[in-house]
């Protein structure tokens, strides 16, 4: 896959109808593609294939994508031309499917719902139909409700808030006789916190907290402490024969682990030359 802009547009047929509405799009938030800000979703241009995931990520779900499609056409939510929107929505879904992007089930449920509404609208309607009979009513209600909270979230983001707009005061307490006490922590609290966090991590699989013996971990820290980043320290300096075989093994394991984790660099100028360790 390449980002070559001359490559023919994958989704041009879908996008081309909306070029004229570009201005209407400016306030929609978008995302970062590989660190580069994309201020708006491309309207008529080619979307680089590897940006598609980002494109999908830019939406908070099928309702958000639908709202986007509706706004882009400058349409009123209350008056969705269901066929057109369904067609566009399905093109996105197909495209994502072709790109083998992991598509959340919610998007497919929405696709089914749109198809159902469309089919019902194709059926002949009785002359006097009430709005409850409009198969779009439920979808419209959901879109409106979602839009309302999407706006509420934006408004909330704009409120003055701590850490960004408001800072708390941090005023020196001079040497009073009474010192501000520091929180007290019981060993038990620390252990339970560790147990809980490990249990939780295990529930969510993928991360298991490795169990190197703490002696190796501790030695890793000692090795790092001994290193300074601008100097090379001899490999041999990290072994103390007076610690016996176990001590040497622990040091060796610690250095291997540090190397594996990219926390140190090993340098040797030629075969059998002294080995040096350097901090990153």
């Amino acid at each position: 896959m390449s980002n070559d802009p001359t490559q023919p547009s994958l989704i041009e047929p879908l996008m081309s109808s909306s070029v004229k509405n570009a201005s209407n799009q400016s306030e929609m938030p978008f995302a970062l593609v590989q660190g580069e800000p994309l201020t708006m979703i491309p309207q008529d241009l080619y979307i680089p294939p590897d940006a598609l995931q980002v494109f999908l990520d830019a939406f908070e779900g099928p309702l958000d994508l639908l709202l986007y499609l509706i706004k882009r056409q400058n349409l009123d939510v209350l008056n969705i031309p269901i066929a057109m929107i369904t067609k566009q929505y399905m093109e996105y879904i197909d495209l994502m499917d072709t790109m083998a992007l992991e598509l959340a089930a919610e998007y497919l449920v929405m696709a089914a719902m749109l198809a159902e509404i469309k089919s019902r609208m194709l059926l002949p309607r009785p002359d006097e139909c009430s709005e409850e009979d409009d198969p779009r009513a439920e979808l419209i209600r959901r879109l409106q409700e979602y839009e309302q909270f999407k706006k509420a979230a934006e408004d909330m983001d704009a409120l003055d808030r701590l850490e960004r707009d408001i800072f708390l005061t941090n005023i020196e307490v001079p040497n009073f006789e009474v010192e501000m006490p520091l929180p007290d922590v019981k060993m038990n609290d620390l252990l339970m916190a560790f147990r809980d966090v490990v249990n939780r991590a295990e529930q969510f699989a993928s991360h298991h907290v490795q169990r190197e013996p703490l002696s190796v971990r501790e030695r890793m820290v000692l090795v790092l402490e001994k290193l300074s980043s601008d100097q090379f320290t001899s490999f041999l300096d990290f072994f103390d024969v007076s610690e016996g075989r176990m001590g040497v093994v622990v040091s060796f394991l610690a250095i291997l682990e540090l190397l594996k984790e990219s926390m140190i660099e090993l340098v040797q100028s030629e075969n059998y030359a002294p080995i040096y360790i350097k901090a990153i």
Binding site: E131, F149, D155, M156, D160, T169, I171
Partner: protein
């Protein structure tokens, strides 16, 4: 103790802690003192302090859990130069979730998911609870007894608000009655 004596003490108290202090809490600090000020005295002193700092770089501000000194947002630009760290940004998913909890509390996770149209990740709920913006209010009497969530005073404190009433009002949902079936059904886009 009169208001004039009380004011510098309150200034010292507010300077000593980042936590907002409630009138009742301050009142209790003086309990046992011969010249314990009344709650009205404290209220009056705070009122005068709020005015005193009206044009200063810091302000005495009332938020949900009490009063606190804070730096006036107007001067954020200069203060930010003191530090190089960027303020935390919150994802849309998190903001939409907390907005729903704030406006619709008590609310279950399922109800949030219904409105947002996507599942709400456990991490978001956990982050919100850890930040103490959201708390468990109880359980709904439904199969599975789903948890009911609501926002906390800390949430309001963070967003510089005294109460939920100060949240921006929800945009109005256009009444479905405004919508004329005969017009929209004229839609010729069915193909």
């Amino acid at each position: 103790m009169d208001t004039e004596q009380l004011k510098p003490i309150l200034e010292a108290l507010f300077s000593a802690t980042e936590k907002p202090l409630a009138i009742n809490f301050i009142y209790d600090l003086f309990s046992g003192d011969i010249d314990q000020p009344s709650k009205d005295d404290i209220r009056q002193a705070i009122h005068e302090l709020v005015e005193k700092y009206e044009s200063a770089g810091l302000e005495l501000k009332q938020v949900a859990s009490g009063f606190r000194f804070q730096i006036r947002p107007d001067y954020e630009t200069w203060v930010a130069r003191l530090w190089d760290q960027k303020p935390p940004r919150y994802s849309r998913a998190l903001l939409e979730t907390v907005a729903l909890i704030a406006y619709r509390q008590p609310i279950t996770r399922g109800e949030i998911e219904d409105i947002r149209g996507v599942s709400v990740s456990t991490n978001i709920i956990k982050t919100l609870q850890e930040r103490e913006w959201v708390k468990l209010l109880g359980h709904k009497d439904l199969p599975g007894k789903p948890a009911l969530y609501g926002t906390t005073k800390e949430f309001l404190d963070y967003f510089n608000l005294k109460s939920l009433n100060e949240l921006p009002t929800l945009s109005e949902i256009k009444d479905l009655n405004q919508y004329h079936p005969e017009l929209s059904f004229a839609d010729k886009n069915l193909n």
